[in-house]
């Protein structure tokens, strides 16, 4: 068994940004393991622009954003093994990985950075009745086929779910000559960013049907149509509202799930709300020396914030490696009224950190209030808050106390 100071699992935006910051902090022995043939993660297929506005002050496509980090990683001589799948991580930080070129690797690490990203919810998760024909894709798979493999997925498409990738794919399919008949969303509000509703649907006259879902999938070999229906507030289809829509393609954009099978193997405890790890303000999981950031921790809206989170992680991981440990984080951060989830879930109360949260449902003209022991630590007035938009609040150590749990709520 060999030994490395840091192993980074996943060479997407989080892994690449973390590697660079670690190097900058003087950590030399870094290894990135990436299962695809090239680093860059999901950005490789996100060819639309709008990436990097925060980071670089310009609107880049996904591949361009990724390439900037890949170039820097190469320039810094950071080792990245591609085509190498991590199979197991143990609680005492032994990583087992395998690949065609690299063979079987077993490496013990002082620190492990979990940056595996997320995957899509599939038809199976929805349990939509009907047959099992070809022509049903998750939005990311359709994106991969069209943008990386030059395979057109269909001609007459229906999109279920209004997540950002679904909206982006509605536009992409239209540009490539397909007819997108509509986007159906079971909730009473869209799940994607407002700008994507505007520039991906409205611009192309693609209708968005809220409180609607697909209740049946039809076709033997190939999809021939779907039945959609209006839904009540409990997401139950309303009898009598069913409508048949002929189509050969159904795109699912129904949510993303942090990919944490390896984290579980390593003994990392997951938060059922984020489906990512419980972490402290250092992005450290419950297993000392194992850190997580990016979409594997909680699904982000924007890659710019993935990079920032990964860099914050790397700052603390470098400190862990240099000092041997990090300050204890004994205080809980509690998701209170109208808050869907918070990151981190544990803090020390002695250091600055970024509090990330999503609300559980759309709200207007409210305040997000952070309290410790009843004392108001921060109050942020918000004109509107949507579950589709992550809110990040900078928390300053000078305002924090180190002896009381923190509660975040909406008033």
């Amino acid at each position: 068994m060999t030994h490395r100071q840091v192993i980074i699992v996943g060479g997407g935006p989080a892994g690449l940004a973390a590697a660079l910051r670690l190097k900058e902090k003087g950590i030399r022995d870094i290894l990135i393991l990436e299962r695809e043939k090239m680093p860059g993660g999901i950005l490789r297929q996100c060819i639309h622009d709008g990436f990097g506005l925060t980071r670089f002050g310009e609107s880049l496509s996904g591949p361009e954003y990724a390439q900037r980090f890949i170039d820097m990683v190469e320039k810094e001589g950071i080792e990245c093994i591609t085509d190498c799948t991590v199979l197991d991580i143990t609680p005492d930080k032994v990583v087992t990985a395998a690949g065609r070129e690299c063979g079987l690797l077993q490496i013990r690490a002082d620190a492990i950075l979990l940056t595996m990203g997320c995957r899509e919810r599939t038809r199976g998760a929805l349990a939509t009745p009907g047959t099992r024909p070809a022509g049903v894709y998750t939005a990311g798979v359709a994106q991969n086929y069209i943008n990386l493999q030059n395979i057109m997925v269909g001609h007459e498409a229906v999109i279920l779910g209004s997540g950002d990738i679904g909206l982006i794919m509605a536009r992409r399919l239209t540009l490539e000559g397909a007819h997108v008949k509509g986007v159906y969303e079971v909730q009473s509000y869209p799940n994607g960013l407002a700008r994507n509703i505007r520039q991906c649907l409205d611009d192309y006259n693609i209708p968005l049907y809220l409180k609607h879902t697909v209740v049946e999938i039809k076709g033997r070999e190939r999809l021939t149509g779907v039945t959609v229906a209006e839904c009540d507030e409990h997401f139950a289809p309303i009898p009598g509202t069913e409508q048949e829509i002929p189509c050969d393609t159904l795109i699912l954009s129904v949510g993303l799930i942090p990919e944490n099978e390896l984290s579980l193997a390593a003994g990392v405890e997951l938060d059922p709300r984020t489906r990512g790890a419980y972490v402290d303000e250092n992005c450290q999981t419950g297993v000392p020396g194992i850190f997580a950031a990016g979409n594997v921790l909680h699904v982000h809206d924007l890659v710019d914030f993935v990079s920032l989170e990964a860099e914050a992680l790397a700052d603390r991981a470098a400190e862990y490696l240099t000092e041997g440990s990090l300050p204890a984080c004994g205080l809980k951060v509690i998701a209170g009224r109208d808050i869907g989830h918070v990151i981190p879930q544990r803090i020390s109360g002695t250091r600055d950190f970024t509090l990330s949260l999503r609300v559980s449902h759309p709200l207007a003209d409210v305040s997000v209030v952070v309290r410790q022991n009843g004392r108001e630590v921060l109050r942020r007035r918000m004109r509107k808050l949507l579950p589709a938009e992550m809110l990040q609040l900078p928390m300053k150590a000078v305002n924090l106390s180190d002896d009381a749990d923190m509660e975040v709520s909406v008033e």
């Binding site: 506005l53 943008n147 990386l148 493999q149 611009d203």
Partner: protein, 120 residues
């Protein structure tokens, strides 16, 4: 006349309420930055968009290279630009930033490659 716009300049997606007479903007509210007002003015007089697509590559390690526009083009010319993009086939290697079509359709916007595709 009052119109509500969703600004598409950045992910904030500000909802901007604009008081205007035809293309003449009288006042805007709801924009968190000055780009919002500029967006509304542009949107009323000459709505523009950027697009991204891909172009076939022969002899490369990938079958496609992603491309985008360097500047927004009139919204009603998007499909004309797509036709031009679809006409192109490149030969590997392609470098990120390579100009694929200069000044596409005379719209003061270049189509550039956004990915490296090495030769096989």
């Amino acid at each position: 006349m009052k119109t509500v716009f969703t600004c598409i300049v950045c992910p904030n997606g500000c909802e901007i309420e604009a008081e205007h007479e035809g293309k003449q903007v009288l006042s805007v509210t709801g924009a968190r930055c000055p780009k919002g007002e500029a967006y509304v003015k542009q949107e009323l007089s000459d709505p523009r968009r950027t697009i991204a697509s891909s172009v076939c590559v022969t002899g490369g390690v990938l079958p496609l290279v992603s491309v985008r526009l360097t500047a927004a083009v009139p919204r009603d010319r998007i499909f004309d630009v797509m036709r031009e993009i679809n006409r192109v086939t490149l030969t590997a290697p392609v470098k990120i930033g390579d100009v694929v079509i200069r000044n596409v359709l005379g719209l003061d916007s270049d189509v550039i490659a956004t990915k490296n595709v090495d030769a096989e």
